[in-house]
């Protein structure tokens, strides 16, 4: 199961965490990542409105032949974007685990300011330790 990268967006759609787990990826500038996050946030909001099925959430999965992005939105409005290779089962499990690590090592950190970019060493370490063996 190959995870390409992970993005975390805050309530307002701002990018608070971005990390690549695969060397072959195009490196964008930090500004580009911010634009990407903002765009996704907007698209997510639009899709939740235009859906023909009443009461549905926003965009959840976007799949192409090169990649698959899965979006997990929490009840608090934080979005976790997991970029993976196409045709991957069980991305949900990874989403939930990343959310768990976020709730532990970011939320319980007294030095983290809510909605600000995540600079928690423990979170990075645990995330890498979780994702790397899967590559």
């Amino acid at each position: 199961m190959v995870i390409l990268s992970i993005l975390i967006l805050n309530k307002a759609g701002g990018l608070i965490y971005q990390r690549d787990f695969n060397e072959g990826l195009n490196k964008l500038s930090s500004n580009d990542y911010l634009v990407l996050a903002g765009t996704f946030h907007g698209v997510h909001a639009i899709t939740s409105r235009i859906s023909p099925v009443p009461g549905s959430g926003g965009l959840e999965v976007l799949e192409s032949d090169q990649f698959r992005v899965q979006c997990f939105q929490t009840l608090t409005g934080t979005k976790f974007l997991i970029f993976a290779e196409p045709h991957q089962p069980n991305i949900d499990v990874i989403c939930r685990r990343v959310y768990e690590l976020y709730a532990d090592y970011v939320m319980k950190n007294p030095f983290y300011q809510i909605e600000m970019p995540i600079r928690c060493e423990q979170f990075d370490r645990q995330l890498v330790a979780y994702i790397k063996p899967k590559q």
């Binding site: 532990d104 319980k108 950190n109 007294p110 983290y112 060493e121």
Partner: protein
């Protein structure tokens, strides 16, 4: 039997049942409702407060790590607002732990039972801290107890991965800070309480095997070493 002039009042939950002493104080349970508005004590529907519970009732109970982590995080943020530097922040955490250590020490001694002896030797009290106190607080005993080679008055208590620090990532600009200063305060209170005056500080020591290793440096005062030498 009960001397009304004596400074020591024999304990009884209900003073009206002391034998031989006619009393005008109403039984405790009847006086509670009038005080309910002014006190912070919580009363159950059976009109019992926390002071009516047996001390050993919560001996085996466990605390959720997440609850503690959130509370501890708030304590750190609260202390951080009031101070300007890392040393002061550690001192504040130390003071917070000190208050807890004082009370915890009495409780642990009570729970040791009647056969327990008061620790008068240095190694004895350090073993008490490394085993009993640590097990009560964290469910495991301390990972090491060492005596410093350079200084006669310094001892080190080692914890490979302090539970209080499990979710805390200290930012790089504050890398000197170790939030286990809170635990250092608890240890200092226990030592002061058993008449081994000292200063306890927490230091992060990086090791390959244990990246979160913390060393509690215990520096005793002169009087302790002199007494130890006499007892030798």
């Amino acid at each position: 039997m009960s001397n009304l002039n004596s400074p020591f009042v024999p304990f009884s939950p209900n003073p009206s049942i002391q034998s031989g002493v006619p009393t005008t104080t109403p039984p405790l349970s009847a006086s509670k409702p009038s005080q309910l508005g002014s006190s912070n004590l919580r009363y159950a529907s059976s009109r019992k407060s926390i002071y009516d519970r047996h001390l050993n009732r919560t001996q085996r109970s466990e605390l959720s790590k997440a609850s503690f982590a959130f509370l501890f995080g708030e304590m750190i943020q609260y202390a951080q607002k009031q101070v300007l530097g890392i040393q002061d922040l550690e001192k504040k955490l130390n003071i917070q732990g000190y208050a807890i250590g004082q009370r915890l020490f009495e409780l642990l001694l009570y729970r040791e039972g009647r056969s327990a002896k008061r620790e008068t030797r240095l190694l004895g009290i350090l073993q008490f801290i490394a085993q009993t106190l640590y097990r009560h607080l964290f469910g495991k005993s301390a990972d090491g107890l060492e005596k410093s080679r350079e200084h006669e008055d310094e001892y080190m208590l080692i914890d490979h991965e302090p539970i209080v620090n499990s979710y805390i990532s200290v930012p790089k600009e504050m890398s000197q800070l170790n939030c286990a200063a809170f635990v250092a305060g608890i240890i200092e209170a226990v030592l002061d309480g058993s008449l081994f005056p000292c200063r306890v500080t927490a230091h992060s020591v990086f090791s390959e095997q244990f990246p979160f290793k913390t060393v509690f440096l215990i520096k005793f005062e002169e009087s302790v070493l002199e007494r130890e030498a006499v007892l030798q």
